[in-house]
Subunit: 356 residues, 2 copies
Amino acid sequence: MRGIKGIGLIKMNNLPIEWLGDRVRILDQTRLPQEEVYLELGSYQDIASAIAELKIRGAPAIGVVSAYAVALSALEIESKSKEGFLERLRGISQTLAATRPTAKNLFLAIERMEQVANAGEGVEQIKKALVDEAVKIHSEEVEATRRLSQLGAELIENGFTILTHCNTGALATAGYGTALGVIRQAKAQGKKLKVLATETRPLLQGAGLTTWELKKAGIPFTLITDSMAGYFMKRGEVDCILVGADRIAANGDTANKIGTYTLAVLAMEHGIPFYVAAPTTTIDLSLTSGDEIPIEQRSPEEVTHIQGVSIAPDGTQAANPAFDVTPHYYITAIITEKGIITEPYVERLKGIQGVR
Amino acid sequence: MRGIKGIGLIKMNNLPIEWLGDRVRILDQTRLPQEEVYLELGSYQDIASAIAELKIRGAPAIGVVSAYAVALSALEIESKSKEGFLERLRGISQTLAATRPTAKNLFLAIERMEQVANAGEGVEQIKKALVDEAVKIHSEEVEATRRLSQLGAELIENGFTILTHCNTGALATAGYGTALGVIRQAKAQGKKLKVLATETRPLLQGAGLTTWELKKAGIPFTLITDSMAGYFMKRGEVDCILVGADRIAANGDTANKIGTYTLAVLAMEHGIPFYVAAPTTTIDLSLTSGDEIPIEQRSPEEVTHIQGVSIAPDGTQAANPAFDVTPHYYITAIITEKGIITEPYVERLKGIQGVR
């Protein structure tokens, strides 16, 4: 995947996700920005833990590693009968599916892997097919983010200040990034840009990961707390908002990192375009609206503690919804690898999904 | 001041601000919620540092301690001539005024102290008059927060969930609190309440101070990140928003902790009442609109570091406006000790200020 024409991958010691034949190497995102530490995960259990603990995160990225997890687990299953093999594989898929409930990409990757397994002839042939499918899912996701970055960059004008939330770059996508891919492509086109990066509490992916990628990409940025977004919009210092997505319902309602909905409301109030960038693997046509998207509720400790240090009195009750849903009418456009979609989303999202 | 009828003061080992004749004792708010540490400040320089370092914070509270700082400095001036004394006092007032630019109460307290000094006869009489005036400012501020808490509590209905931002309690006001005073008074009236307390990045006054006061007051609360406010409003789980103020312009535009403006926009979008609670000492009729309110820009390190731990790559540029301005048309009502004010704010704020 190195050397694809265009913006180029973010320079790291290794790729953020790499298949090594009998294990997957990932960059441990919980160690950034302090240290660039890679983990080699040799079992699906290790991958499931890495997903649950956010060592790997971002909807497209967890889709890719969960496909590798299914492939790895398949290699280890000793059953010689296809039936026994498939039964064992279904149990493993359920374990993986239980790691994080919101991102569509995770479920889609597992579904694709299951279909390949079901369609196979013998166990050995299926094992090989599953590895091939995981590699294919990975390269398709990389290509999708490259393509959507190119399409989305057309929306970004020279001199723009772009406000982005959470991390949507190479780390989140295994490839070029979604919102951050669009920004990097616009910069590669020679446009002068500035980014306002929200820190993204509780887990500070903006402060720790987006800044790390922007620094490597040589794009000027200012870090702000989530609470400062309105201040800068009111001052007229934001030209557009660009975020990723974890799941997009059939009507365009979009689940993304907690705080996204607030940014969308602010954007509308100030007449600022609000763009969602996501590969089509994030779209879930089975859900009529965003009300049906399951929202992950994470540990209150992520709110009451920051990097292990308590910020609240002992015993403080805290809420920790990891995502919120932005209704489609706040979204100016959804940038996918198959085109830029605008209202009416219901028809257009259906149309674009059919193209796959 | 103990024993005033009504809600009662928050139980601490000492009052948050106490005049001890030749020094001021304050509760060090930077040590909460871990430790209840009191500092005895014997000079105006110590008080100026405590204000700048946020050991004491909250618009009414910094008004009170700056008055004590002027009194303390006066006691130390050795000049026997009134002219020399006043000249020295003006220099000290300027030092104090330079600590924090946004809160009106600071400037108003210093102005009142200067007027008393100018009106005095001899140096010794002025020194005594300044101490008396500082004590008067203190007790007036306590009484104002008690009164506005009573008036504001009428707006709170049984069963309400109230979202509040930053800290506006005993700590911030030397008395009963503004927004938090209203909440405590409503609770004292027997109303069943729940509070959603925003953590209030960057300095986490919500997570560390508001939770500490709510816990002491026995009011159930849930801590949320600033980015979660929209999520809970959209779910219909917020009945009103109640915040304090650092300065209110003649047209009702209100400067308050960064993030307040975002909450106001969200409140309007969801049809939720948005209340500002503040003593009239926070009102600045000399400013036509909020555009004229100076906004303090604090150190970027408060954003890039949390409790001394870095959360961003080295050299990250960050913005740190400490306040934002909420235009008056987002504000349902301003709760003061002289009444609850609604539109048209221009006439009504002028009317209420005239009453002083």
